[in-house]
Symmetry: C2
């Protein structure tokens, strides 16, 4: 073999990505068995709470957005727009928007500028101005294949081995494993800072300072600070005071801020979502900040389309030119994703508005309802606790595992939380991800669960089964 695991890129080999790890692989096996009827389980179907993939578990796409995309996909339909409206196949507004985009150069089949359609970037500018009260330069907005691509771009740029010492990336613990995986790929060091579980997974200044000081003392060149807000997997919606503290800390230490704000529309607290970009600007700090957003979450849930954007503020223009070059090497992001970003940031205002508003309200109400049921169920169980869910699509409950569980896990050679989650899967069909995939305070155990599966009754039933399982598990391994 010319290429083996030993002779390939060792950073790839070392990278871990738990969201698609052993648990979901076992779930895929069970699903196949259930479909074939080749094995029996104490449940009829799996309930997938392991991944933020809303449309795979019942979320319905927004009609207006999909109509516009269908028309741009088939220009011969757009030519017959009036007939389609008359036949009740389309809203007039969808036809109008598709024609507007077409007139601005929305050709689905052609490469776009490396950083994306300029008219979509202008629409993002408008949305950001309405949200934050400030107009960014549209040349600082890059349309990407999901938020992940923006993060990869930023992390690749940070991977400067010539400076000596490992490049450190400060990341919340628990963290979304994209960050640990990409840090490993650039041969960097994940400099974790623990979120404060007792304070609803807030960021504490003390935790930032401790983590930075420790890494620096070990020779790590700490260069960036990741903030995931609302939090994945924490489910926290950070307040303005916390974000101000974070921005000042980044300024003091000369760090690039990475603001992962893909859940900005998924908020359950009394205080609204506040962007880190707005905080940085209002404090007048020259801190470099890359802010990422995505189609995949919010009330769109368009994971499969792969669209999103990154905004680079306060960056050196020479560095930005390098970002453009990086984008150009892969030509451009997919056009359907780019156009979907335009639709995300500019909702309909005419005949498509009533249905759109109703669809959005239904999605958000369903999420809130299931978040409440999840929180109540978890906090009703002995040995499980979690703070209220402030935002995003996740909870990260803590499980106090009895000594027998650790022993049983050791016997199988797996982490105790993975053992627990695997047992939950085999007994209830509920698929969740062990906390070890996201990292956690040593000696504590958690799991990440979404509250996405629809209808709500399905999730309620799965949680009922889970509650019984949990009580049996605790008794059995006490």
């Amino acid at each position: 073999m010319a290429l083996t695991v030993d002779t390939m890129n060792q950073q790839v080999v070392k990278a871990e990505y738990a969201v698609r790890g052993r648990l979901p692989m076992r779930a895929a096996e069970i699903r196949a068995e259930l479909a074939k009827g080749s094995a029996s389980y104490p449940f009829d179907e799996l309930v997938f709470c392991n991944i933020g993939n809303p449309q795979s578990v019942g979320m319905v796409p927004l009609t207006f957005n999909r109509e516009v995309l269908a028309l741009l996909m088939a220009p011969h339909l757009l030519e017959k727009g009036e007939a389609m409206v008359s036949a009740g196949l389309m809203s007039a507004e969808a036809v109008a928007r598709a024609r507007e985009y077409q007139s601005k150069g929305a050709n689905v089949g052609a490469y776009t500028d490396s950083i994306g359609f300029s008219f979509v970037r202008d629409e993002v500018c408008d949305m950001l101005e309405a949200r934050d009260g400030h107009r960014v330069n549209p040349l600082h907005i890059f349309l990407t294949n999901g938020a992940s691509e923006g993060v990869r771009l930023m992390m690749t740029a940070l991977g400067a081995s010539h400076l000596g010492g490992k490049v450190g990336v400060m990341t919340p613990i628990p963290q979304y494993p994209l960050y640990s995986a990409l840090t490993t790929l650039i041969d960097g060091e994940l400099v974790g800072y623990y979120l404060d579980e007792a304070e609803g997974w807030a960021i504490s200044e003390e935790a930032l300072r401790q983590s930075h000081a420790k890494a620096t003392a070990e020779g790590v060149q700490v260069r960036a600070l990741v903030v995931i807000n609302p939090g994945n997997p924490s489910g926290a919606n950070l307040d303005a005071a916390t974000l101000e503290m974070v921005a000042k800390f980044a300024h003091e230490k000369g760090l690039v801020l990475m603001a992962d704000e893909v859940y900005q529309e998924n908020v359950f607290t009394d205080h609204p979502f506040v962007s880190l970009s707005r905080v940085v600007r209002e404090l007048g700090l020259p801190v470099e900040i890359a802010s990422m957003h995505s189609l995949s979450k919010g009330f769109l849930g368009e994971c499969g389309v792969r669209g999103g954007y990154a905004v680079f503020e306060n960056f050196d223009e020479g560095v930005l030119a390098q970002f453009v070059k990086m984008k150009s090497i892969e030509l451009c992001s997919n056009t359907v994703g780019q156009l979907s970003v335009g639709l995300m940031v500019r909702p309909p205002t005419a005949d498509a508005k009533p249905l759109y508003d109703q669809e959005v309200a239904d999605v958000l109400a369903g999420l809130r309802e299931r978040a409440d049921i999840l929180t109540k169920t978890m906090n009703s169980l002995d040995g499980i606790s979690m703070p209220p869910i402030g935002g995003a699509m996740y909870a990260f409950p803590q499980v106090t595992l009895p000594p027998g569980a650790q022993k049983a896990a050791d016997a199988q050679g797996v982490p105790a939380d993975e053992f627990y989650c695997m047992q939950a899967l085999e007994n209830t069909g509920l698929v969740v991800v062990p906390g070890s995939g996201f990292q956690q305070q040593p000696g504590t155990f958690h799991f990440r669960t979404t509250f996405l599966p629809q209808p709500t009754a399905k999730m309620e039933k799965a949680l009922g089964a889970f509650a019984s399982f949990h009580n049996d598990f605790m008794a059995k391994h006490a």
Copy 2:
């Protein structure tokens, strides 16, 4: 600044990507000036022969493919499929195919398996079997965001700095700059082998051996060999004997083969396209081969959709598992691109077939017509020569520049071929890319041009202006 060009990833800074370099940037300026009427040029419009972006210069997408995609994009239209067929808005076959894909799980809005929809990978298997007479394992087929992503995956895996010495990637010269850029990004060494211009840009065994021996003597760990067939920018369609020689050489030297075969439908020779995978298999060699294909070329030209696939044959299963992990970190390729791959490899056979066949025939006939005109024009000019175009969408004519041209270029501090191409742009509106962006034999000058712009009369007119310019240029700088 926390991040400057000096403190960022130096491999990114060193990477070059000429296809979107100074020439197209100047062209973009001119286009903006022409649109505003703020400057005058000896032409009314630019003719973009600088990039393989067919739908930006007149290629029309295939109706059947776009109908299926529009229906999957807007499932409420698919529900009304019969009504749409009756109203003449869709072919019945498009509705049937969309329903078939939907029943197999084609949910545009959800993440798919990391390597893509299994039913699309099965369709790719069917196509490969019909083409090559052998069935590959569908788990060895990865659906990607264009061919570029497959190349990036493969190159990332090859970047094994722990082995000592630079990782060498053998690449044809002239080469598509994706390869040089990605080689730089992995801190590898581009080990160029010169294509034989006198033999219509064929690969000679001598060139392979010389290049491998030289790199090895310099301490480079040569690990892979790239074959672009049909060639970009060379325009060659390699014959089976050449491919056999290449496969045997890769086997002898223990190299991974990378077969960039995105132009396999764009063939102008008497002999058909032959896949390197087929050659490797028929020789019975255990050589690892990654073969890439794309939606962006052929008769689809769906560049903006970003779809393609990579087939990994004879690879170690442990390495393949690492490839799956790499794909999973970015979740999956965009679903529209994935579905478009299915449509590419499985054309319609019922009521959509006549229109589809006509559209394909028109595209291919237009390409052949313009290839002929281009070849004739170029070979009619003193100081320009090129072999017949065997395949792909490009020609790479050689220009014998007079001494005065080199002097004038030196005065501006640009390569002589860039000076020539820039003068052509300013005088004729024809946008081509200087050969230095693709590399070439020292002391020779070339440029790459497509033959995509439609209608043919537009390209004819631009070539007429170019011929006059060329004769003037040669006289002026003699």
